[in-house]
Subunit: 536 residues, 2 copies
């Protein structure tokens, strides 16, 4: 039974059993690329050899700077196959940040999309050591290094790497940096073992339940926590995989939904808010009936979005919660199948929570008074541990305070947990509003505000208050052509919250600033409103 | 990420998340017992403490001699919770064999059903050291030892065991002895890790796909390879579990199907052959529509059985293949969802094979010429390896020849493997018929014969032949009131096989001898026909 859990085993299985299955991706020029698992596996084996022929060795970090497509998926497996560490760079970061990350990880090579060479060109001069540049296209593309190599030439010249004795399952297979809003980005290393166990869990029904009959379309980028593990789970189970390439606009996505008939899709809420607008403008035009679950995570999903998708389009949004440090799966909000919900509204309320933990994810929440009870009321910072949850950041002893002495990861999320183990995220610890000693959940207020028919987006932050220390301020983006007054919004919220939770001020803005992951960047918003003065 | 994969983690999850879920079992007196996960978990924690209070320690083997029911399920988790090793004794074995096994395993205690005390009474005098006797009922029941303890008294007096730091995932959690037809029984030890990974795989769609919405009913005994892992998978996922207790007759089973509405059931072919007869005698009487999959394994499933269930009763038989040494999951014959089968018959033919390997089960087959190609034609002995597959028997260095030098388990099954990795078992290596240097599959002949309308059961064995060394003889049990001549049967087989495969002789018998696991005992049959002389 000394069989190590490695990505090589996942790869061999896919190659042996699912050779005829399809992999589909949209190219940069909007055309569709389509090939089989058999072709993909052969190219991945060749790529692994090519890395070796370039002098890259076991434990070397090999970066990717790429959208979601077949070549990226080849690198996903080729790098661990030759013992290297897949390091997905986040193309939405500033070049200085990418350079910091590539230097910190000591990346020795990068596979880069031609369209991202202008970005990489700004990173390159800041690199502290030589990084072999492999262009997924013409190596003479604008912005490429003079000694850049062509991906296709390398792959064509290489022989498929043969099966090797499996590496230690605890050796590194992949890494990813968090794009936190404060401090330098922190690296998280995923071992073969952690990735495999995460993939098995992700395949289970209480999580995504991916099977061979599925067509999986990760709209979440492959550089965000490995697209939530969807590529690994699709490959292990022999599912058809559809990748959107760089085209994440609603029209391009809907076109893939209609033509490739995904059964499972995944992405952040902003993607589905944008898609919703197109669907509303074209009622009945698109047949999206193949989709049985839309997994949404990355930030809290407003109940109104879940309801709209189900009632208007017959599509099921399933909220999932996780973090880069967690591979990223933490919990999934499938409603308990035998639960008797008193009303449809109760059912949707349940699904607007973050759900119950995945198998082997242990949870607890802690307030200043210690571990909080599972009463659905008491807030505390969520702590987690499990076989795919980090117990340290890569080479960052200064960030050890994010882990408890007994080995749990402090998520920074302020939550309640109810008697059935259902988590509800109330806030990020740095965003929670402390008014007169009581906590107010900015997330709850935002999600409720986004249920108002005139509101497109809302973010709630704390501003200083002479008496209560902090009070909530809501920054609101109205839908085009819609109107609502602060009094309207306050009245809309009033029945849903204790009186002292209601924002003291509503400010109408053009847009909410966002992080590279598409989340609200509240630090930016707080800066914007830092001199805001509320009346006592 | 140093989170060990243990049954304690599975237990804690079930207790924390699924407290309200139901566990149902039929009692010895035919009444129904029903309680919740919360009650079960509390009793399991008390039982774990009780074991400790009896002086039992970590690594001690604690046996069970019991049918499928709640108390057995309490022991399933209580024993690993306190660090012990769950040793399920096979109540169908001869008392001498049970005594050999209990002595070899050095069992220190046993939990025994009152109805099995007459059996245990014959085992007890042969035990080499003291075994604490815990009766699941009145400790003064007939056949009990004078110092036997009562299960309920122990549990009532004990305090629930608190959570402990998890044990090493590679420590032993359970063990099971194979009831081979030759040689002394051999023990297989399952670690926490192997059981957990097996449970995760069993939960995946390509295997049983057990989820919280399921009601799982293992008809296979909990003393046969842990009821194929179904109890562990049900508990991990929070499914409702229904156990048949000692009542495995068709009427009792059908009664549970109708009243408890299982979605997934599992058992050996003989169970379903018996159920079929009752269903055929009572067309339309029973509503079995809740069952979405009947997993059948333990011996090859005749295509006719699969077809009958689907066409007559609308029930889907899914064949699974495995062995005690494999925890036991090896492969499952879900037809590939995107495969285009030319006809219904082709589809059923596929499902009569043993299917494709579970995730992380590596397969290869070897003939005298080495590893055979995956051509669906060439026969070889199947070798397997994986995270839940044994690499040695417990304290049996003499049986090391069942494992290859590079760590694969030699299954003793003669198989073909096709290009998509689908296994078809042709025979047990000791049953395969070698006629003039060519192999003939006794299993294929049997399965085909059982498709004849007059045939209830058939077993094919080799008998000596002066020219061809061995030739096939078919022992046939006719259905009551049905007739068929040897010529009829030969004509029925002729279109399906090469001419030289057709049995030289057909002998009509009252019954096929069986092993304790309900499989055909061909060694017995060969003994019966050892002096049979075929004409040249």
């Amino acid at each position: 039974m000394d069989y190590p859990l490695t990505l090589s085993a996942v790869f061999r299985r896919a190659e042996a059993l699912f050779g005829k299955q399809e992999l589909v991706a949209r190219n940069a020029d909007k055309s569709i690329h389509r090939y089989t698992y058999a072709d993909w596996a052969n190219r991945a084996r060749r790529l692994a050899s090519a890395f070796e022929s370039l002098g890259l060795k076991s434990t070397d970090r090999i970066a990717t700077l790429a959208w979601n497509h077949g070549v990226h998926l080849e690198a996903y497996f080729a790098i661990p196959l030759m013992g290297g560490v897949l390091h997905t760079l986040n193309l939405r970061l500033h070049p200085d940040e990418i350079a910091y990350i590539a230097n910190h990880a000591e990346d020795r090579a990068v596979v880069v999309d031609p369209s991202l060479l202008p970005l990489w060109e700004k990173v390159r001069p800041q690199l502290k050591s030589k990084v072999i540049e492999i262009v997924n296209g013409d190596p003479k593309s604008p912005g490429a290094s003079p000694d850049a190599l062509g991906y296709e030439t390398l792959v064509a010249a290489a022989k498929p790497i043969p099966d090797r004795p499996d590496v230690d399952e605890r050796s590194a297979a992949a890494m990813c940096y968090t794009s936190g809003t404060t401090g330098a980005p922190k690296g998280v290393v995923y071992s073969h073992r952690s990735t495999v166990i995460h993939t098995m869990a992700q395949s289970m029904k209480s999580c995504m339940g991916i099977g061979e009959e599925d067509t999986v379309m990760p709209v979440v980028p492959m550089f965000h926590a490995n697209a939530w593990g969807m590529p690994f789970a699709a490959i292990m189970n022999g599912a058809k995989l559809v990748n959107p390439g760089p085209h994440l606009d609603p029209a391009s996505l809907i076109d893939l939904f209609v033509k490739e008939r995904p059964t499972i899709v995944g992405g952040v809420p902003t993607i589905w808010i944008a898609v919703q607008q197109v669907l509303e403008q074209n009622p009945g035009k698109y047949d999206l009936s193949s989709i049985r679950a839309m997994y949404v995570g990355g930030s809290a999903v407003p109940q109104a979005l879940i309801e709209t998708y189900e009632k208007k389009f017959g599509l099921r949004i399933v909220q999932a919660w996780g973090m880069t440090e967690m591979s990223p799966l933490g919990s999934v909000a499938h409603e308990p199948p035998r639960e008797k919900f008193a009303s449809d509204d109760d059912r949707f309320k349940y699904r607007a929570k973050q759900g119950r933990p995945a198998p082997f994810v242990d949870i607890r929440a802690r307030s200043e008074d210690g571990i909080v009870p599972w009463d659905g009321q008491t807030m505390g910072e969520l702590e987690v541990r499990g076989p795919w949850i980090s117990s340290a950041y890569y080479n960052r002893p200064d960030a050890a305070d994010r882990f408890t002495d007994d080995g749990w990861f402090k998520t920074g999320d302020i939550v309640t947990i109810d008697g059935s183990g259902t988590i509800q995220v109330q806030d990020r610890s740095k965003d929670v509003i402390k008014s007169g000693g009581e906590w107010i959940s900015s997330v709850a207020l935002e999600c409720a505000l986004m249920g108002h028919p005139a509101v497109a987006e809302a973010a709630v932050i704390s501003v200083e208050h002479p008496k209560w220390a902090e009070r909530p301020l809501a920054a609101v983006v109205l839908k085009p052509g819609q109107k609502a007054s602060p009094a309207d919004l306050k009245q809309f919220l009033a029945p849903q919250f204790p009186k002292f939770w209601l924002p003291d001020a509503f400010e109408f803005v053009e847009a909410i600033p966002r992080t590279s992951a598409g989340k609200f960047k509240k630090s930016e918003l707080r800066k914007q409103f830092k001199d805001y003065r509320l009346a006592e």
